[in-house]
């Protein structure tokens, strides 16, 4: 008799645990199960919020920390199971040197990479977007191109100006070398007046970015995945040829 009741109690407890796990899941996601997928040969890197560099931003800011992404990029390059990388961008910009570090890392990966600009890819988001093998922008996304800026206390104005000027050249050179835009055109957009009210620069929307040659094509996830799969199969063909 006692054993029976113990068993029943155990069963009850088990059911309670199951139901509480279910309740927790519903609280988290508003649904009871998540679709499962097989292992993917494509990895996804999201660049969201502000690109955080040397200075840690207040915690209420949503940031992409470059020190998190750099090791992930190394892991992507090293892992033979990963055949391609897709980069999703919705960023307001941020630290120039952290952004350039990410852009250089992405451009020097041997595996095919495709970027999609969603919502916004502003300021330092531009070099990150063009760093990939092929770049896409959705029709509603925008990219703000403007000169490098600095806020806060500046000690040694002439030196800082020189430094910023060189930093700006690095951004321009990177974008020109990794996209089809002409240097003249990019500088025109960067220093254009009347587009951003009282500020200089240009807010380039979806199809315009493609017309200027900054981005390779207008498209979303479908186009990006097609292109990435195409690049992966090309990459595999060339690898096979080397072996023969």
């Amino acid at each position: 008799m006692n054993k029976d009741t113990e068993k029943k109690e155990e069963e009850n407890q088990g059911q309670q645990q199951n139901s509480s796990a279910l309740v927790q899941k519903i609280q988290q996601l508003g649904q009871s199960n998540v679709p499962q997928a097989p292992d993917s040969n494509i990895h996804v890197l999201t660049i969201i919020g502000q690109v955080e560099g040397h200075v840690q931003l207040p915690p209420q800011n949503k940031t992409t920390k470059y020190e998190h992404l750099l090791p992930q990029l190394i892991a992507i390059e090293q892992n033979p199971k990963i055949e391609g990388l897709i980069i999703l961008l919705n960023t307001v910009g941020g630290d120039v040197e952290a952004g350039l570090a990410l852009a250089e890392m992405i451009s020097s990966i041997s595996k095919p990479t495709v970027s999609v600009v969603l919502g916004g890819g502003h300021s330092i988001g531009v070099p990150i977007a063009v760093a990939t093998s092929h770049s896409f922008i959705v029709p509603t996304a925008t990219m703000t191109i403007h000169p490098v800026r600095l806020t806060g206390l500046v000690i040694g104005v002439p030196q800082t100006f020189e430094y910023l000027d060189k930093m700006q050249d690095r951004v321009i050179n990177f974008v020109v070398n990794h996209s089809n835009i002409k240097e003249e055109k990019f500088k025109d957009l960067m220093f254009a007046k009347g587009n951003l009210t009282r500020d200089i620069g240009t807010n380039v929307v979806g199809t315009d970015a493609v017309d200027y040659g900054l981005i390779d094509g207008v498209g979303g996830i479908k186009e990006a995945m097609q292109k990435l799969n195409e690049l992966i199969s090309q990459n595999q063909k060339s690898e096979n040829q080397v072996i023969q």
Binding site: K25, V34, A37, H68
Partner: protein, 68 residues
């Protein structure tokens, strides 16, 4: 009180830093998570830091789940 200023709200009303002091990055099972420590010592997952899309499909790593 009406404020008319080019300063950011956080510059005028600094956030209490202890609001976020229980948040940190931890590594579990070779994956990085941004977590918030609960009053009972367990960690609640806020953000998964991974490039593997399959990780985002894993129920264990959904935001809000409790680790350990």
């Amino acid at each position: 009180m009406i404020l008319y200023t080019p300063l950011a709200q956080s510059d005028i009303f600094p956030q209490a830093s202890d609001d976020f002091s229980n948040r940190q990055c931890i590594s579990v099972e070779g994956k990085s998570f941004y977590v918030e420590q609960q009053s009972d010592g367990s960690y609640m997952l806020l953000q998964l830091l991974s490039t593997d899309p399959a990780d985002y499909m894993n129920e264990k790593y959904t935001p809000g789940s409790i680790i350990q």
